[in-house]
């Protein structure tokens, strides 16, 4: 890790100013930044520690929405009783991520800005070619080991998966992120790689994320996050799904349903085609299976990751089934 200078920010404005300098990087939990500095991917000249700033860690849940400060820790949000009650998929996406230690360190703002786990991206010494790290240098993953690379939203320049779990749940429930006086949908915060895979979000230089907001809804309250991976815990998703639905008064017709996918796309992926296919229907096995296949519309396999095209729709099916069972048990009858 190259040496850098350390600045402890005294206000968000000061941090933002300092972050405009060349070579400056915001330091929150450090679980992405310091990791990448050790890999030689990040080489900040100055780190600006924002973890001691007051007023950016609040978690407030009202009847309309949850607002969460950028410095709230993953563990605090995961374990918050009102988040668990009104946004179970959000809580589960956090508690199924990383480890207890990492969740105590990592912040919500930093979480949204975590970088891909593409092994070529993380190893500049061995693999100089990476369009995300060094624009125009090529992509070492093409023709390489691609087991955990994306099948959706890729371009010829980059097929790196966005590895985050929380953002998948946020995208499902129309959450927004606030930075530099702006508020945008989390879905629009992320960019597709296209021919600029180095530009992952719409966040500008020196802009500080201040927090997120998740609107309350019946679907968010009745939701689940299912994560399938190579080992039982402490692993990124091979494929994951955030699902939430609201049924009509008849207790079986779908009034509103949200489906988003993780582990398979270059950004947190809302599966609107699946949602459209299920609204107004009942959640019978055949209907759910057929609809879930629509999640892979436009998917492109690149070698080892072909299995994700099979796996992801099954994860969606299982998530819907598990949630339907949970819903039936709560309402005291099977839908």
């Amino acid at each position: 890790m190259k040496d850098f200078s350390y600045v402890r920010a005294t206000s968000a404005e000061a941090a933002s100013q300092a972050a405009l300098q060349a070579g400056a990087a915001i330091l929150a939990g450090g679980t992405t930044l310091l990791d990448l500095a050790k890999c030689g991917v990040a080489a900040p000249e100055t780190v600006i520690d924002i973890t001691h700033l007051p007023g950016l860690s609040d978690i407030i849940v009202s009847a309309d929405a949850a607002t969460i400060g950028a410095l709230a820790r993953m563990s605090e949000v995961a374990d918050h009783p009102s988040i668990k009650a009104a946004f179970p998929a959000v809580s589960e996406s956090l508690s199924l991520a990383a480890s207890a230690q990492l969740r105590n360190m990592a912040t919500i703002g930093g979480n949204l800005l975590q970088r891909t786990r593409c092994p070529y991206f993380r190893d500049p010494g061995t693999f100089p070619a990476c369009n995300k790290r060094a624009p125009g240098s090529g992509c070492s993953a093409l023709g390489g080991v691609t087991r955990n690379h994306a099948v959706l939203g890729t371009s010829e320049h980059c097929l790196a998966t966005n590895p985050g779990d929380l953002a998948v749940a946020l995208v499902a429930f129309d959450a927004t992120v606030s930075f530099a006086g702006k508020t945008v949908l989390v879905e629009d915060f992320y960019r597709l790689p296209g021919d600029t895979p180095d530009k992952e979000t719409v966040l500008g230089r020196g802009e500080i994320i201040t927090g997120i907001a998740i609107p309350a809804s019946a679907a968010a309250k009745n939701s689940i996050y299912l994560k399938v991976r190579d080992r039982q815990s402490y692993e990124f998703a091979a494929a994951s799904a955030a699902v939430g639905f609201e049924l009509e008064a008849d207790g079986k017709t779908v009034k509103d349903i949200r489906v988003a996918l993780g582990g398979v796309a270059t950004k947190p992926w809302r599966a609107r085609a699946v949602e459209q296919a299920l609204i107004g229907k009942t959640l019978s096995a055949g209907t759910v299976e057929k609809a879930s296949r629509l999640a892979m519309e436009g998917a492109v396999a690149q070698g080892d990751n072909a299995y994700k095209i099979e796996l992801a729709p099954r994860v969606v099916v299982r998530a819907i089934q598990q949630l339907a069972l949970k819903t039936a048990m709560k309402t005291g009858g099977l839908a």
Partner: protein, 168 residues
């Protein structure tokens, strides 16, 4: 040019002054600058849990924490877990009782993680212990004994009696 910064760290309830480069992690500060080598370096990349310490009572990875970041916070390490008189912490005693290690390299991290896991209320069943201890890898595969030790310690420990410097 080497920059150094002066830090005052509160470790196990004692003040420690040191001059380090800003990039020095809490792990390296403990091991290389303060000769507190109980905290282990496994992967140095946040993947194994060997370096687990407590900051303000919460378990964290000292390999991904800068020493500079914890100035003004309370740090607790494996060296501060036993009582002043050397009486072992209930988790330490349970690890001995259950032979919850082989080479012992992961053990300080396992114990620091287990102390916090119990305090968080995440040691209610074997399945919960496995899930909430999954951030601590053991290359010797002592997992079954580790789970048994944490379960027994969770039953024995109702209040965190030993860590006087920490808030429950």
């Amino acid at each position: 040019m080497t920059r150094t910064i002066h830090l005052n760290l509160d470790i196990n309830g004692r003040a420690h002054a040191l001059d380090v480069e800003p990039r020095v992690t809490l792990l390296d500060a403990l091991r290389d600058h303060l000769q507190m080598t109980g905290t282990k370096k496994g992967c140095d990349q946040g993947q194994c849990g060997a370096c687990t310490c407590h900051v303000d009572g919460r378990r964290v990875l000292s390999c991904l924490t800068l020493a500079a970041q914890v100035e003004g916070r309370q740090v607790n390490t494996i060296e501060g877990i036993a009582g002043e008189d050397g009486t072992l912490h209930a988790v330490q005693a349970a690890f001995l009782e259950h032979d919850a290690f082989q080479c012992g390299y992961c053990t300080p991290g396992q114990i620091m993680s287990a102390v916090a896991c119990i305090r968080e209320g995440h040691a209610g069943s074997d399945a919960e212990i496995r899930e909430y201890m999954s951030g601590n890898l053991c290359r010797c595969g002592a997992y079954n004994s580790i789970v048994a030790a944490v379960r027994e310690a969770a039953e024995a420990v109702n209040t965190p009696v030993r860590e006087t410097a920490e808030v429950a």
